[in-house]
């Protein structure tokens, strides 16, 4: 158990370290176009080859890590907290509160948010810096991504409300916010962890998809999502295996996150 966790921590630290050292590891930067060597395979100069307009893929992966690894977990945290508050409280309070909150959640699940995003893009100035654009994007993702977890949390909190130990706690005089904070919320952990873990890759991918609306990272800034999008033009698997490196990296990071999280879960047992 600890070995797995340690390994996971080490991997995460390594990835963070590598991305922090991007300036030294890839001094030419993520935007330099080696136009004579566009779309080439791995070589000494370009370990992971170059993209369609000749940018070094290795540098792009490193710099992309900075953005995705920092912002996706932050957005995931935001959406998990929102889910905990909305879903947990609704379930805990029950009755009309719960019904109203769940109706809103269902509405959130079915509305065409695409158009809200298009409107958000229209409200932002065209010459917005790529960093602001990507921050706004992840914030929107965090603000919209809580819905499915909230529903599950509502069901969980609903079960807890009627459970013996909460009744006991109530009888012993613990009430209101304290009861919710101390007895209800910790028991929602399995759902919260699941939501957090699922949200990270989901947000990384969504960020890239929002590129079609002019949101997300703007050229020439890289992100894991935009690197993964390269896979969409793939017509045969195995021809250019180096294009899968961002995917493998993402899977490794996401798995490591899970292993780090699962420690707490086991402790609860």
């Amino acid at each position: 158990m600890t070995i797995w966790r340690r390994m996971a921590c080490a991997i995460l630290l390594l990835v963070v370290g590598l991305s922090a050292a991007a300036n030294w590891l890839a001094p030419a930067g993520y935007a330099k176009q080696y136009r004579e060597e566009a779309d080439s395979g791995p070589s000494r100069a370009h370990w992971l080859g170059t993209d369609e307009i000749g940018r070094d893929r290795f540098a792009r992966v490193l710099y992309g890590t900075r953005i995705s690894l920092l912002l996706a977990p932050a957005a995931a945290l935001l959406s998990t907290l929102m889910a905990a508050l909305i879903g947990g409280l609704a379930g805990y309070l029950g009755g009309a509160w719960s019904r109203a909150a769940m109706a809103v959640t269902d509405l959130f699940l079915s509305l065409p948010w695409l158009f809200l995003l298009i409107t958000v893009r229209a409200l932002m100035p065209l010459n917005v810096s790529p960093v602001v654009s990507v921050l706004v994007t992840f914030m929107i993702l965090g603000l919209l991504g809580w819905t499915s977890a909230a529903r599950v949390l509502c069901a969980s909190a609903g079960s807890l409300r009627d459970s013996d130990f909460v009744t006991q706690a109530r009888a012993s005089g613990i009430r209101g916010a304290r009861l919710f904070w101390i007895h209800v919320l910790p028991n929602l952990k399995p759902v919260l962890y699941a939501q957090f873990w699922i949200s990270i890759p989901a947000f990384i991918l969504s960020e890239a998809n929002l590129g079609i609306l002019g949101l997300g990272v703007a050229e020439p800034l890289p992100s894991w999502g935009s690197l993964l999008k390269e896979l969409e033009g793939l017509i045969s698997v195995g021809e250019e295996p180096w294009k899968f490196v961002p995917l493998v990296l993402l899977v490794v990071v996401v798995t490591s996150f899970q292993l780090v999280l699962s420690k707490h879960e086991e402790l609860a047992a």
């Binding site: 298009i118 529903r151 759902v191």
Partner: protein, 296 residues
């Protein structure tokens, strides 16, 4: 005696859910219309860029959208017509919305239902075996597998399903199952770690008995909630899968409608999606509370 009481309670609960459902659908339809109407690009048509068109024709093209500009008028007019069974005509395809939906609904339903069943079969099998085996390596492998599918963009999964000639439902299952798995695994692990279940295990009760007598009532309502939500996820997944695999379903239609800012079509698709989402989630709620009642 108890039976009758719970039946009445459940009837009341269903009635309440029904009312919420109608109100939510109406609100959803209105909000979706507002979202579409307020987003940029509503008043334009790609065809305007055809250099063959003269001024009058371009103006006529723009005029044709004007009648939907007043969103309140559009909304109430549409409702009025909908009561008489007329859902309006699609702007971009020029066909009645009713026909479009009727033609495409069966395919999407089949896709989503099979996709969901498959995804849940995989998710539950993985999660249950993880909970029963309680072996870290197994759990890690399952996490890597589900993590991989979670990390592959939906469009790539859809493309792979075309590449390997597998049915679109499988692509949907692969998009949906990692989420189901993660929730199911965490909820089941939590349930199995509870003292009375550990005790039951120590007493030597069979795993199936523990599952159905102790775990299901505990984790059931939450798993059902996950199931309800996974319906929305599957519907969302149907859009790229249908669009890429060339399947003429509602997902593909929704995508076309969004690109063309086809208000009548979009509003009706939102109503449909809201209805399905609400039905799925409300039934999960109702059945969940029945399970909880059983446990009590």
């Amino acid at each position: 005696m108890l039976g009758r009481k719970t039946t009445r309670q459940i009837a009341r609960q269903i009635a309440r859910h029904g009312l919420t459902l109608i109100a939510t659908v109406l609100l959803g339809a209105f909000l979706s219309a507002v979202l579409v109407r307020c987003a940029p690009g509503f008043n334009v048509d790609e065809e305007e860029l055809d250099p063959h068109l003269n001024s009058e024709s371009i103006q006529a093209l723009r005029q044709s959208r004007l009648e939907q500009r007043d969103i309140f008028h559009f909304y109430f007019h549409s409702l009025q017509r909908a009561i008489h069974g007329d859902l309006g005509t699609s702007l971009s395809l020029g066909q009645p919305v009713t026909t479009l939906l009727k033609d495409r609904l069966p395919l999407t339903l089949r896709l989503v239902v099979i996709g969901l069943l498959l995804s849940w079969a995989v998710a539950l099998a993985l999660a249950l075996s993880a909970a029963w085996m309680r072996a870290i390596p197994y759990d890690t492998v399952a996490t890597v597998i589900s993590g991989t599918f979670l990390c592959i963009p939906a469009a790539v999964l859809a493309l792979l399903s075309v590449l390997w000639n597998v049915p679109g439902a499988l692509a949907i299952a692969l998009i949906v199952f990692p989420r189901d798995y993660r929730y199911a695994r965490n909820l089941l692990a939590k349930a199995y770690s509870l003292p009375h279940i550990t005790m039951a295990r120590a007493k030597g009760l069979s795993e199936w008995r523990i599952l159905f007598w102790h775990v299901v009532p505990l984790a059931g309502p939450q798993l059902l909630a996950v199931a309800g939500v996974s319906v929305s996820v599957a519907i969302g997944a149907a859009i790229p899968v249908e669009a890429l695999c060339g399947l003429a379903g509602v997902g593909q239609l929704a995508w076309q409608a969004a690109l063309a800012r086809d208000l009548p079509l979009l509003m009706n698709i939102t109503i449909l999606v809201t209805l399905v989402t609400l039905l799925a989630n409300s039934s999960a709620d109702v059945i969940g509370s029945m399970l909880r009642g059983q446990e009590a």
